[in-house]
């Protein structure tokens, strides 16, 4: 008995049909990729990236009397590197623009546009938003584009975040910005947003140092921003400027802290019975005791006791304790003399 044949459309065709339908349903009118004449492109003056060089500098050359001449020249050199790769392989990612009257304003991709002009291109591939992105979305796009870049300074990144927060508050009212909220907006990790918040709310001396480029690292900025003592902070900023690592700065802070703590402890021991003798404390590590004993007997005036401790088994806590008591006893005697 043969089964009756069943017909259907092929699996590949079914998949193709449903995928195409999904794309349309989810993306209608979102954007379009087109080839745009570079002559129609205009930079966004509000983009928080602080590129000094602009279109006229590229087109007409940087004027020598320009106050920012040196900086622009420097940027131009870096753009030339990008222009070189654009010459050979084109712009890999389309720039993002929106239509503003007769021109297209760049949302993301300033450097790519400038470098394309340098490379002698007439057009650039662009993703065109049909509508101007709302303030907040615009900042977010610029933020995402900018954070994916490596040559952005901490100052520029913080400006980005400030702008996002500002636009968010314009749209949603003056809400308190927490790390969690920032995380939800930007998609960054909670620890990252915590750092950003700390750096944004840092004391003035830290802010100035970030602007001057003395603090270039977000982790360091957040760490230093958290120091309440003015002196310690100054010390840490100094260290940061001199290129100390995060670990080194941390140890500076903890050192200062423990110094302070010790001072406080010494000053506040006036309560209770008069203290007449010193408690030597205790330890689980025989090695501590061994180091103390060894450093004492290595001194010339004690080296005669070297033999007393030569037989101690340092792995045995009982023996080590005994040895320490012996050392105290010997030192009492020596100092009494």
């Amino acid at each position: 008995m043969s089964k009756k044949k069943r017909f259907g459309i092929s699996e590949a065709l079914t998949r193709g049909l449903s995928e195409t339908i999904h794309v349309v349903e989810n993306n209608t009118g979102l954007f379009r990729n087109v080839i745009l004449p570079l002559s129609r492109i205009e930079l966004d003056p509000d983009n928080p990236r602080k590129l000094a060089i602009d279109l006229s500098d590229i087109r007409a050359g940087i004027r020598p009397e320009d106050p920012l001449y040196a900086r622009k020249q420097d940027e131009l050199e870096r753009l030339k590197e990008l222009a070189h790769t654009i010459k050979t392989s084109g712009v890999i990612n389309p720039v993002v623009v929106y239509k503003l009257g007769e021109v297209y304003r760049v949302v993301a991709g300033e450097r790519r546009c400038l470098a394309s002009i340098l490379a002698g291109k007439q057009e650039v591939e662009a993703r065109v938003f049909n509508e101007k992105p709302k303030g907040f979305e615009l900042k977010l796009i610029q933020w995402v584009e900018n954070t994916a870049r490596e040559d952005l300074t901490l100052d520029e990144r913080l400006d980005n975040v400030r702008d996002i927060v500002h636009e968010y508050q314009l749209q949603h009212g003056k809400t308190e910005v927490t790390a969690t909220l920032l995380k939800n907006i930007t998609g960054l990790s909670l620890s990252q947003t915590t750092y950003y918040l700390a750096a944004m709310n840092a004391p003035e001396d830290v802010q100035i140092e970030i602007q001057n480029g003395g603090i270039r690292n977000l982790d360091k900025a957040a760490l230093i921003a958290g120091i309440s003592s003015h002196d310690v902070r100054k010390h840490a900023i100094e260290a940061c400027r001199n290129g100390s690592s995060l670990k080194e700065i941390r140890s500076i802070i903890s050192q200062q802290k423990s110094l302070k703590k010790n001072r406080v402890d010494l000053a506040s021991s006036a309560r209770g019975r008069n203290t007449v003798k010193i408690n030597m404390g205790s330890t689980f590590h025989a090695d501590v005791v061994r180091q103390i004993i060894e450093s004492v007997v290595s001194r010339q005036e004690y080296d005669k006791y070297l033999d007393v401790f030569s037989q101690v088994n340092w792995l045995d806590l009982r023996q080590t304790t005994k040895a320490f008591r012996k050392l105290i006893e010997l030192m009492e005697r020596e100092t009494a003399l």
């Binding site: 049909l17 449903s18 209608t28 009118g29």
Partner: protein
């Protein structure tokens, strides 16, 4: 004004028949313009005595327009023929009246449409893609008509793309067989490309896939079921369909009487079916 196009890059699936039925149905309710965008000019031939151009082996051209007067100085610059292909040559389109009241046609012109289709790739965007949309968006056309029905060529080329750019609604007629269904895929691709670049407030609406020339065979039923059962495609399969009926072809003959399915007597099964399909589509578009 709504612009309705029947598209499928597989030939012989009934684009022209569906266009004709839809146009005649709409003409009973509103001023309707037919556009024949297929170089084969079959749609035009339904309503006009298309002529063979001796100089052009490619095929048909429209007859002399009834309003053309060789003695009128206004018509000096006109050879008396007008096709929709004039839009590619910067010339005015003068639609022809048809034997159906309220129904005009801008006929095809085989040679001119074919040459528009073969424009060089780099020029196609300016010279072809936007021309139909520009024409249909002109105030003259808007003032004259309430609905436009476009029959298209069985291709995915510049002519069909320009229809996609001009249309407000597309319908994909298809026979429930493997190859025509592949044609659906080709059209969905064009629909996708157009939808992504359209402004949100004027989307290109896919009215749906219209099963055509349907026979109660296992093949047709199974393929229809497999489209309907797919969660993505299913909602775009229209709940109405045209059956395979010889009468749809018979009315195409020039000497048939009556010349429109809608002029048949009320109980006629083909007329009922045409009413059901067309009213359903019209309701989706104009409601």
């Amino acid at each position: 004004m709504e612009i309705i196009a029947f598209v499928n890059n597989k030939g012989g699936v009934g684009k022209t028949t569906c266009s004709k039925l839809m146009a005649e149905y709409l003409s009973k309710k509103m001023r309707t313009l037919c556009i024949d965008f297929d170089p084969q000019c079959n749609f035009s031939h339904q309503y006009l005595h298309m002529e063979i151009d001796p100089a052009a082996p490619e095929g048909l051209m429209p007859p002399i327009h009834p309003d053309y007067d060789p003695h009128d100085p206004d018509d000096n610059d006109w050879d008396g023929r007008s096709s929709i292909a004039e839009i590619f040559y910067g010339q005015g389109v003068v639609p022809y009246p048809t034997y159906v009241p309220n129904l005009d046609i801008a006929p095809g012109h085989a040679e001119k449409l074919l040459s528009a289709e073969s424009v060089r790739r780099s020029e196609v965007v300016d010279k072809v893609h936007k021309q139909l949309a520009n024409f249909l968006n002109s105030p003259d056309v808007h003032a004259e008509y309430d609905a436009v029905v476009i029959d298209t060529a069985p291709s995915k080329g510049p002519l069909t793309i320009s229809v996609m750019k001009a249309a407000t609604h597309i319908i994909i007629p298809s026979v429930m067989e493997e190859q025509p269904v592949q044609g659906i895929y080709g059209m969905l691709q064009l629909w996708m490309q157009e939808s992504l670049i359209r402004e949100k407030n004027r989307p290109l609406q896919l009215v749906g896939i219209l099963p055509n020339m349907f026979k109660q065979t296992r093949l047709h039923k199974d393929i229809l079921t497999s489209l309907q059962d797919n969660s993505a495609i299913g909602k775009y399969v229209l709940p109405v369909k045209f059956s395979q009926r010889i009468v749809f072809a018979e009315v195409d003959a020039a000497d048939s009487s009556p010349r429109s399915i809608f002029d048949f007597q009320d109980q006629h099964v083909a007329k009922n079916e045409a009413m059901e399909v067309c009213s359903h589509i019209a309701e989706r578009i104009f409601a």
